[in-house]
Subunit: 172 residues, 2 copies
């Protein structure tokens, strides 16, 4: 798929078939995620792929502050390994950049995904840490439901010239 | 450019010719940025394009904690407008996702860019707020130097299977 087509037509998918994503496609998706821009080339992102159905359901049905996550055959929990970093300030933005690539790659392969926040909701972070045995030096920052989508929303053009300013802040 | 080629070959450019990016290309780049995933469709991103040479130099030569930013004919200061948001927690990740699209779009057009952090370095944030008249409810989060690149680094494959775990955290 063309780069601009991918960026401009990607939407969140929230309903999935039961067919899991193949290992080959998952590797393509995670390779793209790991190619994202990041500060000081520290690459703090980590990815926990959950395909055990009981574990998947425990995460998906977590009912802390938001009432669960969309069910898909696999979930990916994206984490920032702060303990691995010399300069720790940028981990969240680094992981978010990786997540944007992950979503684009998923869409480019004809699959679908939705990004659901954990960090900075500390109760969600603590709950997911507990279930997955994630150490305190690692921050789970999102749950991604991913799979073969049913019913993806139509693309919309979100370009808004009022969000572009020239040589200084001018309130829209 | 193909999506995966773009994601896997994008690198930061740090040296640029004097030729500015055309308005048409800038709009393509910012349209891609505004198509990024974001929480609750709040789209908190704002973009200040700086092409006034004196102002550009004041920003580029800011010597707070990092010794300046790479010079290019235009700089883009990416901001999160927290004041516009009902749910304010996710602004940084939203802006980072937009920035990843911005970098990919730039690369896809044969141009180059580098993402340089402002937030969460509060002295840098305050300095850039002062120069550009950015209100307290808006966080400038990055300076992007952008233009026609000279000397872009070769692509590298950053895929690391040790960063992918299955059904729980296992320390690499």
């Amino acid at each position: 798929m063309d780069l601009f087509e991918a960026m401009l037509t990607r939407r969140s998918a929230r309903k999935f078939t039961d067919e899991p994503i193949s290992d080959e496609m998952l590797e393509k998706i995670l390779r793209a995620a790991m190619a994202a821009a990041n500060s000081g080339n520290q690459q703090p992102w980590r990815f926990i792929v959950i395909d055990n159905p009981a574990l998947r359901d425990r995460i998906a049905e977590l009912d802390i502050e938001r009432g669960g996550y969309y069910k898909s055959p696999q979930l990916i929990v994206v984490c920032g390994d702060i303990g691995s970093m010399k300069w720790k300030m940028h981990w969240l933005a680094d992981c978010a950049a990786a997540l944007q690539n992950l979503l684009l790659a998923t869409h480019g392969l004809g699959l679908g995904a939705v990004w659901q926040e954990l960090y900075p909701y500390h109760k969600r972070v603590a709950a997911v840490r507990g279930i997955l045995g994630i150490p305190e030096t690692v921050y789970p920052m999102a749950v991604v439901s991913i799979g073969h989508p049913i019913d993806v929303p139509e693309p919309t053009d979100r370009y808004d010239p009022a969000k572009v300013m020239s040589n200084g802040w001018i309130a829209p």
